[in-house]
Structure formats: structure tokens, C-alpha cells
């Protein structure tokens, strides 16, 4: 420990230097050496760590840990990615791409053609057929049905909508059944029936009074004849 040599700066701070130099010295406790040697002999060299340790950061990490756990649990248990497609966001399918398969029919739809097949509800289940090539004729829609005995048949398709974009309401109300004319309902609109012709309104004619009197007189004379007999 060297001597104090005051330079010019030291001289300016002479007072503070004197105050510090006059501070009473602090001495080690009496048992310092005894304690030290005891520690050495016992081999207890647990030095206050050089590294600033003992920092309890658990409480610092607690909110972050809870947040991470919550996010993980959310994705594991709550969040299910939508597997179904939103129909409103879907691109509409072309009519030509729509085909309906019945379990007992095989439809061969050829791309590019105006093909549309509806399940034939009239056809019985016994008639297992292969339908193909819907033919578009001027009068309506037809389909080629290959029957089990290899007979090819052309059948008309009854669409709910016809070419004129009208609803076949009469057919719908009659249940698409072939009733006898007596039981048949009156045609309401006759939409979808190309044979329907409008004949105009029915005009009721009043009977002539004289003709009526004459007919009544004839009836009365005939009644009298029968009574005389």
C-alpha cells in the first residue's frame, strides 16, 4: 500500500481525502481465523457464488407459461379446422356435371354434351337397366335404356321443369299417375302439355221461352196419354 502523493487534482479534493483517510478502520471479528480454519478443515468451501445466482424467475415466467399452455390447449381441444367447404364460397357446378346415380343404374354422361339424367321414378325396380346418352330432341328429353335382355329402348324423361321453364303443376297434383279420364282432375294450367289448346271461354245461352212452353206442352200431352192407358 503505497504512500499518498497528492497531485493538483488531489489538492483540490484535499478535504474529502482527509475525511476518508480519517475514517476508523473496520476490523475482522475475533473468531474470524478460527471460523475460517474450521471451514477449511471441514472442507466446507461453499463460497458465495461468483455468479449472480439465486434469481427466482419463476414468477416472471409464470404468465408467459400460462399463456403458452392456454394456446396449446386451445389448439389441441377446442380448435378444429373446418373440413367442410362453405357452400356460399363454392363455385357453382355446371348442370352438365351433375349426374344422379341410382344404385341399380349406371349413367354414362359424356362431357360436352347437354346431358342430364334424373332418376326415373316411374320405372320399376325389376327393370334393371343401363341408361346412357340422353338424347335431346325437339319435343323433349329422351334417354337410351339398355335393358337386361340387351333390348335398347328410348324413353322419355319426365323432368319437373320442361323446356319452357314451366312447372308441370298438373302432373305434380295428379301424382304423375295415369288415371282414367273420369277420375282425372281438371287441368289447372295445363303447363307442360304441348297438346293443350285454349278454346276460349264458354258462353251460356238463354233458352227461348216459347220453345220451352212448347216442349212443356208436349211433355204434358205425353203424360196424359200414359195416364189414359
Amino acid at each position: 500500500m503505497g504512500e499518498k502523493l497528492y497531485n493538483s487534482k488531489d489538492a483540490k479534493q484535499k478535504e474529502i481525502i482527509e475525511i476518508l483517510s480519517k475514517l476508523p478502520g473496520v476490523k475482522a471479528p475475533d473468531n474470524f481465523e478460527f471460523n475460517l480454519m474450521t471451514r477449511i478443515e471441514n472442507g466446507s468451501f461453499e463460497i458465495r457464488s461468483d455468479q449472480p445466482v439465486g434469481i427466482n424467475l419463476r414468477w416472471v415466467y409464470l404468465p408467459a407459461g400460462a399463456m403458452v399452455s392456454a394456446v396449446v390447449l386451445f389448439f389441441v381441444f377446442v380448435y378444429q379446422p373446418q373440413e367442410f367447404e362453405n357452400l356460399l364460397m363454392q363455385k357453382p357446378t355446371m348442370r352438365s356435371e351433375v349426374s344422379v346415380n341410382k344404385a341399380d343404374t349406371m349413367v354414362l354422361a359424356q362431357p360436352g354434351e347437354d346431358t342430364e339424367i334424373l332418376a326415373d321414378s316411374k320405372k320399376g325396380n325389376d327393370d334393371v337397366a343401363i341408361e346412357s346418352n340422353v338424347m335431346n330432341e325437339s319435343t323433349g328429353e329422351y334417354k337410351v335404356v339398355v335393358q337386361p335382355n340387351d333390348v335398347v329402348k328410348k324413353e322419355k324423361i319426365d323432368f319437373l321443369f320442361n323446356n319452357r321453364k314451366e312447372i308441370a303443376l298438373d302432373n305434380y297434383l295428379n301424382g304423375n299417375e295415369n288415371n282414367s279420364p273420369k277420375n282425372k282432375r281438371g287441368k289447372l294450367v295445363s303447363a307442360g302439355d304441348p297438346a293443350f289448346d285454349f278454346n276460349g271461354f264458354y258462353v251460356r245461352n238463354e233458352k227461348d221461352q216459347e220453345v220451352m212452353k212448347r216442349l212443356k206442352a208436349q211433355m204434358d200431352s205425353l203424360k196424359k196419354l200414359n195416364q189414359q192407358k
Binding site: M1, L20, F45, R48, Q51
Partner: protein
Amino acid sequence: MDKKQLSSLTDEQLIKEFQDNNTIEAFELLVKRYKDPLMNFVYRFVGNRDICTDIVQDTMIKFYLNKDSYKSFAKFSTWIYTIAGNLAKNELKRRKRRTILSLQGNSDEDDDKTIQVEDKSYFAPDRSADSEIKSEIIQRALLKVKPVYREVVILRDIQGFSYEEIAEITDLSIGTVKSRINRGRSQLQKLLKNIYRE
């Protein structure tokens, strides 16, 4: 080598003896020589007597365990002060972090801030109450100075080391040591202006 012969040896000779022959008496002599200066240094730096005692004990244990890391070209005093200084700085850092992270307010810090009244048995009995108060105020002011400045001021003005020795202890350049001492003293002057005018 008996105790009388050992006591006539310099610090560097004693540690050489301890290194070469593992002479525990040489170690004990060095402890005896340095325990009080180190206590004074660490106490002025840390401001807590119990912690100070622990630090000095740890310094001696480090010295005991790492005696071979001392190289003969260095002064023993600077080497042992470096160890003590590092331990004291670590203690300050640890205390600072504990204060920041403490959820229970700064009750520990409050305890640390209270000035430790020195054991009167260590001082001359004729010491006046006035000087006691003064020394407490000075100690309190010293603890308010930044640790980097405080260390060098203590080493220079209380422990009486030269600039070169302080540079060696703190591993700083002499210029840095001088400027830090100057700043430390200036801070102390501001804090103690009422005292040294009396």
C-alpha cells in the same frame, strides 16, 4: 520453517512457501495480515458487516483453494484485493437483482440501506460521539456513490493504494482509475459538503 522465520517473510515469500510446501502457517500468517484491511475495504464497499465478514472469509478460502493461480510477478496484496473486490461486486449485483425481482417490496433493501453502526470495541474508547456520527454519515454517502467510483476511491483514499496498484486490482488503465477517483470524490464532495465545511 518455524513461525518466527515465517513472520519475517514478505507476502510474496509467504505465498511462495505456501505454494511450494503447502505450509499452512504461511497461509495463516497471510490471513492475519490481510483480514483487517480486507474487512475495511469490503465493509466500506458493501456497507454490511455480516456480509462483509462472509465475503472476506470467502476471499481467504478462494486464496486457499486457488493458491497456484497466483503468479509471482504480481503483488500479493493486489491479487487478494482483486479476489475480494470481485466477490464484493458480485454481492452488490446479487442484491440489486434481488431488489428488482422481489415481490415483497424492498424490505431487504431498506435493511441494507440502514447504516451499520460499527462495533465500538474496534475503535479507541476516547473517540467522540461526533466522529462516530460523522463516520456514519460518510459511510452512508460512500454507499450512494456509484460502485465503479466507490471502489477506486476506497482503494485510493481509505486503503492507500497507488494508482498503479489500483489499476492492477481493478484491471483498468491508470487514466481510467484517475478519472474514476476524481469523479467519485466529486460525488462525495457534493454529498458531504456540509460535513467538510465544519
